[in-house]
C-alpha cells in the first residue's frame, strides 16, 4: 500500500519534471537571446552588464528600420488579402456541396506540406521567367499563398460550428444575400475571421524562406535583414530586433488563442 502510493508520487513527480524540462528547452534559448540583447558585451560574454544601447542603436539603423516598415506593410497587406479571399472560400466550402469540393480542399495541403525551400525557389523561377520579378510585391504574392490554407481552415472550423441554418433563417425572414452576409454571417463569424487574420499576420511577419528567395538586393524585410546580419558577424542589435519580433508574433498568437479558444474545451 505504502509502496504503491510512493510509486504514484514518483511518477507524478517524473511527469511534471519532464514537462518542466521540455518548457525549459523551448524557452531557454529565447530567454538567453532576450537577455543578451540587454548585455553590454558585443561577444555575448558574461558577466552581465545591463544596457539599453542596442535598442537605442536600432533607432539609428536605417536598414533595419526600413526592413521593419517593409515587414509590417507586407504583413498587413497579406492579412487583408488572405483573410478576405480565404473567408470567401471557407464560406463556399461550408455552405455548398459541389463536385470538386474535396479536390479543392486537398489542394490546400501542398502549400502547407511542401518544404518552403522548394516553394520559394519555384516562385523565384516563375516570377523571374514571367517578368513579375522579385521585390515586396513578389513576397506579398508568396505570403498570401502560404496564409490562404490556414485562413480557410481556421474560418472553416468556425463556420462548421455555426451551420447553414442562420443564413437560411435570414433568407426566410426576407433578408437579401447581402443583408444576410452583413447582418448575420459576418458578425457570427467575426471571432474566426479575426483569429485567422492574426494567424495570417504571423505567417507573413515570421516568413523567412519565401522572402529570402524573393528579396532583390537593396529591398528587404526583417527576417532577411536579420539573416544577413547574422552571416556578416552579428551584433547584439540583432538580439534587440529579434526580441521585438518574438514579442510581436507571440502577442498575435495569444490573441488568436483567446479568440479561437485554441486548446481549451468550451
Amino acid at each position: 500500500m505504502n509502496q504503491a502510493r510512493w510509486m504514484v508520487l514518483a511518477s507524478e513527480g517524473a511527469g511534471r519534471l519532464w514537462l518542466f524540462l521540455v518548457l525549459l528547452f523551448l524557452y531557454l534559448p529565447i530567454l538567453v537571446l532576450a537577455v543578451m540583447g540587454l548585455n553590454d558585451s558585443v561577444h555575448y560574454t558574461l558577466p552581465f552588464t545591463f544596457t539599453t544601447r542596442w535598442y537605442e542603436d536600432l533607432a539609428g539603423n536605417e536598414r533595419l528600420l526600413q526592413a521593419s516598415v517593409n515587414s509590417v506593410a507586407v504583413a498587413l497587406a497579406n492579412t487583408l488579402i488572405a483573410t478576405t479571399l480565404g473567408t470567401m472560400a471557407a464560406l463556399a466550402f461550408a455552405r455548398y456541396r459541389f463536385r470538386g469540393r474535396t479536390a479543392l480542399q486537398l489542394l490546400l495541403f501542398p502549400p502547407i506540406t511542401i518544404p518552403w525551400l522548394i516553394i520559394g525557389t519555384s516562385m523565384l523561377v516563375l516570377f523571374f521567367w514571367t517578368g513579375i520579378g522579385r521585390g515586396l510585391h513578389a513576397m506579398l504574392l508568396g505570403h498570401v499563398a502560404l496564409s490562404l490554407p490556414y485562413v480557410i481552415i481556421v474560418v472553416g472550423a468556425r463556420l462548421a460550428s455555426i451551420g447553414p441554418e442562420l443564413g437560411e433563417a435570414a433568407a426566410s425572414l426576407g433578408a437579401t444575400p447581402f443583408q444576410s452576409l452583413v447582418r448575420v454571417q459576418l458578425p457570427v463569424m467575426a471571432p474566426g475571421i479575426v483569429a485567422a487574420a492574426l494567424f495570417a499576420f504571423a505567417v507573413s511577419f515570421d516568413q523567412f524562406v519565401i522572402s529570402y528567395f524573393l528579396a532583390p538586393p537593396g529591398v528587404s524585410v526583417l527576417p532577411v535583414e536579420i539573416f544577413s546580419a547574422i552571416r556578416k558577424g552579428f551584433t547584439p542589435e540583432v538580439n534587440a530586433i529579434s526580441t521585438i519580433m518574438i514579442v510581436v508574433s507571440m502577442t498575435a498568437l495569444l490573441l488568436f488563442a483567446r479568440l479561437s479558444k485554441f486548446g481549451g474545451e468550451r
Binding site: G163, E165, L166, E168, A169, A170, A171, S172, L173, G174, A175, T176, P177, Q179, S180, R183, V184, P187, V188
Partner: protein
Amino acid sequence: MSAVDVRNVSKRYGATTALDRVSLAFPNGSFFALLGPSGSGKTTLLRALAGFVEPDEGMILIDDQDVARIPSFRRNIGMVFQNYALFPHMSVFDNVAFGLTVRRMPRADVRQRVGEILELVRLDGLDQRKPRQLSGGQQQRVALARALVTEPRVLLLDEPLGALDKKLRQDMQGELKRIQRTVGITTIFVTHDQEEALTLSDRIAIIDEGRLIQVGEPGDVYDRPHTRFAASFLGDANFLSGPVRDSGIMVDRVGHIATTSPLPAGDATIAVRPERIRLVACDAATQDNRIEGRVAERVFSGASLTYTVHTDAGPLRVLRQNADGDVIDIGERVALVWLADHSVVVEN
C-alpha cells in the same frame, strides 16, 4: 382556395429519390402536418417550399404564383427551424425585429409590432436577453415570434418541438395551436411524431420514401389508413391476411374475418387497431369477428394496458383502458372480438 399548391414535385440526390412526383394542396388557414419517418422526404418538401431546395421537376405555387424563380427571401414565408437558428449575436428584440428591419420598416412601427408579437407568445419583458440566456421553451417562442412578425403568407415549422422534453412539448403544442388560431396563418409543419401530428393539425399528409401515401383529416387517416405503412406509422395496428371471401377474408387456421370496406380481388390484408379489439371470455356469444388465444404478455403503462395474445393467426396486440383496475393474467385463454366496421382493408 389553396394557399400553397405542390404539383408533381420530384427531387433526386444522386441515386436516392427524396421526393417522387408529390402533389399536395395546402388549404388556406389550415394547420397541415407532414408526417413520416426520418429520411422520408418530408423535410425536403418543406425546404423546397422555403426555396432552399430546388425541385428537379414539378411546380410549387404560393397564392397561385409559380415560385420557381423566386428566391427564398422574396417568398414571404416564415420558418421555425429545428434548432431554432436564433441569431446568437442579437438580443431577443433584434432577433424578432430582423424581418422588419430588412424590409426597412420605420423604427417606431418596428417597436410596436415586436411588442405585440412578444406579448402574443408571452415573452414580454425578455426582449433585451440574448438567446443563450433563454430556456429551450423560450427560445422556441422567440423563433415563432420572429417567423410570425412579418405576417408571412405561410408558416413553415421543421420539427418545431423536437428539442423539448415531454412536458414542455405538450405545453407548447397547446400554445402553438392557440397562436395559429389567433393569427389564422396557413401552417405547414414537419414531424415524425404521430401523436404531435394528431394533436396539432387539422390535416395530415403521410410521406414515405419520397412518396405521398395518404392525405386527410387526422380522424379519417387514423380510421381509414390506405396502406399497411400508414396504419402502422400513425398509431398501432394488427394485420391479418388471406384470400377474399364473402365481404371478408379467410385467415389460415382462424376462419372468416368480416369487413365493411370494399375488397380487392384475390388476397387482401386487414388492419385492426389494438384499442378496437375487446377481450371477452371464451364462452361469450358474439356476431362479430372473433379469434381465440392465450395471453402471453402484459405491458402496463398507467392509463392503459397492452396485452399480447398468441392466436392461431400469430401474436395480436390489444389495448385496454385501465378503467376498473381489472387485470387479465398471463396464460389465461381469451377471445378477441371486434366489429366488421373496424376491419380496415389496407394495401401492402
